[in-house]
Symmetry: C2
Subunit: 420 residues, 2 copies
């Protein structure tokens, strides 16, 4: 066991076993067995993740140390992120139990979360998308997760008293917000030591991004919304590596970036990463498998996710018309016409926000610091650059023109147009 | 001395003298005199205000009790509002010392502020506007106050770390925010026991408001912005009774509604109350004084306030281009074209927000719970109603059409069109 800075103990396999044995809420999950196996599996950028198994059970232990794992102690990062991850796992889990793994235990001083082990065949969704696995329930599940977590934490459902209390608490997660501000909304649009792209193929494309004044204007608006608009308790990092999936299960993990922000940031993150998966498919196509059918499935999933989300959010809103929410009092919004008007308006704005944020998430994965396996696994750099260029062109168009789109069908058509 | 609920002591004149004598930061202001005179002058809705004078000095003591003064203990109200008032007086005073009175002393447990006495000829601006007094420096002073307080507390100047810390703190002022939500954004648009208007003259107008679906849609958007958009530390109640003025002094007081909200709420409050003053003038006109010249002065002041605010905000922004502000990094916004583009866009949005919020503030003063002396002092109810109807028509038009206005001149023209 080593002592990291500011008092936290970084666990190793031996000390983790001791920790579990002395923690009843964890030890009971593995049947109080003397025979514990530990496997470190963290493949994200930030944290350490252990799978703990015994003959009679398994669990996951996730520990945050006060720096960015993938960089080391030279990039300090508040380990309080663990508190916010546990807080949101529990809150989102309460609101949508089928799609959020259970938290057994949280230890603030250790920045340690003990949670449900998502057994095989659960895999990270991104890996499934690269392996052209279809998930028939993915759109339904993600629409359910997003609609419930966003609705029930917004002023559509809660009072302004509860809202301000929660906003204040999550202001504490500022370091993770600042990381997003930098890597999503800033670095891709300026010269930065952290940026990289498929060079030399995309050198000119990256330069064009840094010189696109109209795009920078849109990015400024999106960044302001990210920093200022406390609309709901968002996951904050809802790309396709934040879901573990099987054919009938979708589990959302890794909520350490959560805070009160714009709903469209979550929706855009998920849809934008599906668009990334779409444009990566050509890079994975081989003789006898052109992936055209799979590409159609991805587009259908994008379409269904938004349409189901729309339907579910409206249904929750209607069902809770007389609920505690302070935003739309029934005594004011008291006839079908005005009710329809405000809902249409709300969903249109949310749609445009989602397209904007989704585009920002796409761009940063092509020219920013953190790339995604969808493209990194395309070995032929020239072929990869062709795919990535389509992402940039699609994202730039969507970000600039997003207010002109009135339905997700039109977005799909635009994506297809860029693909051909 | 009486003991109010939750432990605060409501001061009376005798106990206030004792309090001042035992508080060096106050006692020194009145020259440690044994000869203190106390006068209770609070004419607002919320608090008790005392002027304390001695042969060698004077000061003001303001105390918040845990209820709304004008209603009584039946309408409880957190006395923590006093903390936020003192906090913002000090912060805005630091940012704009010429226009915010000095705070000598704050006692959290007593919810008591000791502050600079604004000696005659200082009067409440609203009274000056009713008495058709011109204030040649008013536009300049208010533009200075608003530009400095809003700029220096926004992400144009501060880091997201400082921003989130301040946002979290001011979330604590939720009770006062909720009061605004109710009386500005809700009650006027529904049947409410608190609403009143010049009846029967405006009965139909009030009914039309409650049935105006398009207006309600706009109000919903403004309310969401008020609740969710943490843009700057706003005063939160910047109508024309929140300034004490002379020919060369403008002092902003009464910041108990302050929190991190949309800048346009402050700008709109001030401009909207000037529009109220404008439409009230006909009700004050008498034989030999048609007030036409004074009405022109009010319109000129509206125009100058916005134009000077615009100029000053841009100047502060340009001067602090390389400052700590996280919103527009100079490495991204790195050429004159893009710099001009984002500033034009920012000011256009702020202009539209200000028109929207200003309209909401106008409407609530005609049909809501709290009216203003500009109209209340017009004794002829029919004449008063004629003035008030113009306010409603002006505000409804501005709120619905605000995005079409590109300059304050156009707003002035529209106001004149409704006036004739």
């Amino acid at each position: 066991m080593t002592t990291a800075n500011n008092g936290s103990r970084a666990l190793d396999e031996k000390s983790l076993v001791e920790y579990i044995k002395s923690t009843p809420s964890l030890y009971s999950v593995v049947g109080e067995s003397d025979n514990l196996e530990i496997k470190e599996v963290g493949d994200g950028n930030l944290n350490f993740v252990y799978i703990v198994t015994s003959p009679s059970g398994a669990l996951v232990v996730k520990q945050a140390l006060p720096y960015v794992r993938s960089i080391g102690e030279s990039w300090p990062m508040s380990k309080d992120r663990s508190y916010f991850e546990a807080r949101t796992l529990k809150e989102h889990g309460r609101l949508c139990p089928p799609h959020v793994p259970e938290v057994y235990h949280f230890d603030h001083s250790m920045s340690l979360i003990g949670m449900r082990y998502l057994a095989p065949p659960h895999i990270i969704l991104r890996k499934g998308l690269i392996g052209r696995v279809k998930y028939p329930l993915l759109a339904e599940h993600m629409a359910e997760y997003m609609s419930r977590t966003l609705f029930y934490t917004s002023l559509l459902y809660i009072t302004t008293t509860d809202h301000k209390r929660a906003v204040a608490e999550f202001c504490g997660n500022v370091e993770l917000c600042r990381l997003t501000e930098q890597v999503v909304f800033s670095d891709p649009y300026k010269v930065s030591q952290y940026n990289r792209w498929t060079s030399p193929y995309l050198d000119h494309d990256a330069k064009l991004l840094r010189e696109d004044n109209v795009l920078k204007l849109e990015v400024a608006q999106l960044k302001s919304m990210f920093c200022e608009k406390a609309q709901a308790l968002i996951h904050g990092d809802l790309h396709t590596s934040s879901q573990m999936v099987t054919q009938d299960s979708t589990q959302v993990i890794d909520s350490e970036f959560s805070f009160y922000g714009p709903m469209g940031y979550d929706i855009g993150a998920f849809l934008g990463n599906l668009v990334l998966a779409f444009f990566a498919q050509d890079g994975h196509a081989v003789e006898g498998d052109d992936r055209e059918d799979y590409k159609k499935w991805i587009l259908r999933t994008i379409e269904e996710t938004w349409n189901l989300f729309h339907k579910k959010l409206i249904a929750l809103w209607n069902a809770n018309q007389d609920g505690p929410g302070d935003a739309y009092l029934p005594q004011i919004y008291n006839n079908p016409d005005v009710w329809n008007l405000v809902q249409t308006n709300y969903m249109r704005d949310l749609f445009h926000d989602s397209l904007g944020f989704g585009s920002a998430k796409m761009i940063r994965r092509i020219v920013g610091v953190a790339h995604v396996e969808d493209f990194e696994s395309i070995m032929d750099a020239s072929k990869r650059a062709d795919c990535e260029r389509k992402v940039l062109n699609c994202a730039k168009m969507l970000m600039k023109e997003r207010r002109k789109f009135v339905s997700i069908d039109e977005v799909i058509s635009a994506i297809l147009h860029i693909d051909h």
